[in-house]
C-alpha cells in the first residue's frame, strides 16, 4: 500500500484476507444469475415431449399389436431406452441435457443415458474392468436408493394394511 507512488522500489500490498464465509458470499455475488423459472420451463417442455413420444409408442403397440395398455408398457420402455442409447452414442443426448436440465434426466431415457454413457466411456479399460464395473457408476445409486425407498414404502403399506386394494388376484 505504502510507497508505491513515491518512485520507491519497495511496494507492499495488502494480502488477500477474507474469511471463507466472507469470500464465499463475495464470490457468490459475482456469479451470473441462474433462472430457475426458465430451467423449470425447459425441463417441463423436454420432459413432457419425451413422455409424449412414449405415449405415441405405447399407442402404436396397442393399435398395431392389439395390446392392453399394461402389456404395451414393457416394449414401450424398451423402445425409449433404445432411442436414448442411440442418441447417447451419437453424442447428442448430453447436448439436449445441457438445455433441458432435469427434463432429460428424470424420464427413463436419462437412466439409460447414465448407463450407456458410462459403458461407452470405460470401454477402453476392457469389458470386465471397464464396461462391467463402471456401467452402474452413476445408475448404481439410483438403484440402491430406489430399492431402499421401495422397501420402506412396502413396510409402511404392510404395517397399515393399505396395500390390499392392489391385490387383483381375489
Amino acid at each position: 500500500m505504502a510507497g508505491r507512488d513515491s518512485g520507491s522500489k519497495k511496494t507492499a500490498y495488502k494480502p488477500v484476507s477474507m474469511s471463507p464465509k466472507e469470500y464465499k458470499a463475495f464470490a457468490k455475488s459475482k456469479e451470473p444469475p441462474r433462472s430457475v423459472l426458465k430451467n423449470c420451463l425447459r425441463a417441463f417442455l423436454v420432459g413432457g415431449f419425451i413422455c409424449l413420444i412414449g405415449q405415441g409408442v405405447q399407442n402404436f403397440f396397442m393399435k398395431v399389436f392389439d395390446m392392453t395398455a399394461k402389456d404395451a408398457g414393457n416394449p414401450t420402455v424398451a423402445i425409449m431406452i433404445l432411442l436414448s442409447v442411440i442418441l447417447t452414442s451419437m453424442g447428442v443426448y448430453d447436448k439436449i441435457a445441457q438445455w433441458a436440465g432435469a427434463g432429460s434426466a428424470v424420464p427413463v431415457t436419462g437412466f439409460a443415458n447414465s448407463m450407456s454413457s458410462a459403458a461407452i466411456e470405460h470401454r477402453s479399460e476392457g469389458l470386465v474392468l471397464g464396461v462391467g464395473s463402471n456401467m452402474f457408476k452413476l445408475a448404481g445409486s439410483v438403484i440402491v436408493f430406489g430399492v431402499v425407498a421401495a422397501f420402506i414404502v412396502g413396510i409402511i403399506y404392510w404395517v397399515f394394511g393399505i396395500g390390499a386394494w392392489h391385490d387383483t388376484s381375489g
Binding site: 500500500m1 508505491r4 522500489k9 519497495k10 511496494t11 507492499a12 500490498y13 495488502k14 494480502p15 488477500v16 477474507m18 471463507p20 464465509k21 469470500y23 464465499k24 463475495f26 464470490a27 459475482k30 456469479e31 451470473p32 441462474r34 430451467n39 447417447t88 452414442s89 453424442g91 443426448y93 448430453d94 439436449i96 441435457a97 445441457q98 433441458a100 436440465g101 432435469a102 432429460s104 434426466a105 436419462g110 443415458n113 447414465s114 450407456s116 454413457s117 458410462a118 461407452i120 466411456e121 470405460h122 477402453s124 457408476k137 452413476l138
Partner: protein, 347 residues
C-alpha cells in the same frame, strides 16, 4: 543470487525461448486464436482408441513441432519438464517415453504450464542444462471422464463451469539463441478461501492469482505498468473480475496495464458453448506459446506477465467435502533486446 525477495527468481542472464509448438482440438480451432496455433485437429479422437491416448498424442505432436521449429535434434534436449491433469500425470510420462529425454514430471494442475516453464528457466539459468523443454497438455474428454462424469452423460453444467481446452503446448528454453526471454518467475503458494464447488473453479483460483501477482510486484519492485499485459491462466468470466476487484481493493494499480485471461481469450464465450470460458493445462500453454509469444516476437508486446492458475483438487478430495486448494505461478516474458526491432522470426 537468482532469488529476489520472498519467492521470485530473477535471471541475471535471461533464458531464451527459442521455439514453441502448439496443438489444439476442434473447439479451439473455432475460437478467435485459431490461426495462431501450429496444428489444429478437426476432431477430439485424433485417430486414437482412447481419450487418454489422444491427449498423449497432442503432447507428442507439440514437442515434435517445437523441436522442428528449433531445428534441434531430440538427443540434444537436456531435460524435459512437464505435467498434466491425469492421475499420475500419465500423458507427460508417456510422451517423455517417446521423447527419450531426461524427464522431471510435475503437477500443478492448470498452472503446470508456467510451473514447468519456470523450472526449465531455472535449470538453464543455473547452468544445469543448455536446452530444456517445458510441456503440458489437457484434453476435454479425459478431464470430464476423470474429474466429472462420462463425456456423453447428460448433466447440465452451471454457467460458472469452465470448458477444458483440448491441446498441448511445448517450449524450448535455451541459454543462447534468438527469441523472447524469461526475465523472472514467481512461485505461487497455496491459497484456499474455502470454495468447495468444483464447478466454480474461477472463483476458487482468483485469490491465488492475486497473491502471486502481488508477490511478484513486491519482490521485483515493479509496478503493473512495467508489463504491457498481465494475463491470468484460466479464471474465466467469473474468476477474472473477482481477481480484478481483489487487486483493486488491495491497492494494486492494475489500470496501468492490460489485465486479461487466457480462458477468455481462447474461445468466443458468447458464441461457443463453453460456459464461463476455457480451463485446463493447455489453456494458458497454447495461448502463451501460440498467441502471446507471436505478439512479443512481432514487437506488438514488449513485456508480458503470465500468471497460470491451478485448482489442485482431486475427485476424491471434493467428494470427501474438502475445499479446493489453489495456486498460481507467474513467468515474465520479455522481447529479446537483440531482436526487438527485427519483427517476427516465424514459428
Amino acid at each position: 543470487m537468482i532469488l529476489q525477495g520472498r519467492r521470485t527468481w530473477v535471471f541475471p542472464k535471461p533464458p531464451v525461448i527459442i521455439a514453441t509448438g502448439t496443438v489444439v482440438g476442434p473447439d479451439e480451432g473455432e475460437g478467435p486464436l485459431a490461426s495462431e496455433f501450429d496444428l489444429v485437429h478437426p476432431d477430439l479422437e485424433i485417430g486414437q482408441p482412447s481419450w487418454e491416448k489422444s491427449e498423449r498424442v497432442l503432447l507428442e505432436q507439440a514437442t515434435d513441432i517445437a523441436l522442428q521449429n528449433a531445428r534441434l535434434d531430440k538427443d540434444k534436449l537436456d531435460f524435459f519438464v512437464g505435467g498434466d491433469l491425469m492421475n499420475q500425470i500419465i500423458s507427460n510420462t508417456f510422451a517423455a517415453r517417446t521423447l527419450g529425454a531426461p524427464y522431471l514430471g510435475m503437477f500443478g494442475a492448470c498452472s503446470t504450464s508456467m510451473e514447468s516453464l519456470a523450472v526449465a528457466s531455472l535449470i538453464v539459468s543455473s547452468g544445469a542444462g543448455n536446452y530444456v523443454m517445458a510441456g503440458t497438455c489437457s484434453h476435454n474428454c479425459t478431464v470430464e471422464k476423470q474429474y466429472r462424469y462420462p463425456t456423453e452423460y447428460g448433466s447440465q453444467k452451471p454457467p460458472t463451469a469452465q470448458y477444458t481446452v483440448t491441446g498441448a503446448g511445448a517450449a524450448i528454453v535455451s541459454r543462447d539463441g534468438e527469441g523472447p526471454v524469461i526475465s523472472a518467475a514467481t512461485i505461487g503458494r497455496i491459497m484456499d478461501l474455502g470454495i468447495k464447488d468444483p464447478f466454480s473453479m474461477g472463483a476458487a483460483m482468483a485469490p491465488a492469482a492475486v497473491d502471486t501477482i502481488q508477490g511478484h510486484l513486491q519482490d521485483t519492485g515493479r509496478e503493473p505498468g512495467y508489463y504491457d499485459m498481465i494475463v491470468t491462466g484460466d479464471l474465466a468470466s467469473v474468476g477474472h473480475p473477482i481477481a480484478a476487484e481483489l487487486l483493486q481493493r488491495n491497492g494494486v494499480p492494475m489500470d496501468q496495464t492490460d489485465f486479461k485471461d487466457c480462458g477468455l481469450m481462447i474461445y468466443d464465450i458468447q458464441e461457443q458453448k463453453v460456459q464461463a470460458g476455457g480451463s485446463g493445462c493447455a489453456c494458458s500453454a497454447v495461448v502463451t506459446y501460440g498467441h502471446l509469444l507471436r505478439r512479443i516476437r512481432s514487437g506488438e508486446l514488449k513485456r508480458v506477465l503470465i500468471v497460470a492458475t491451478g485448482a489442485l483438487l482431486s475427485p476424491l478430495s471434493y467428494q470427501q467435502g474438502e475445499s479446493i486448494p489453489c495456486i498460481a505461478h507467474a513467468v515474465a516474458i520479455e522481447a529479446s533486446p537483440n531482436i526487438e526491432e527485427q519483427g517476427g522470426m516465424g514459428s
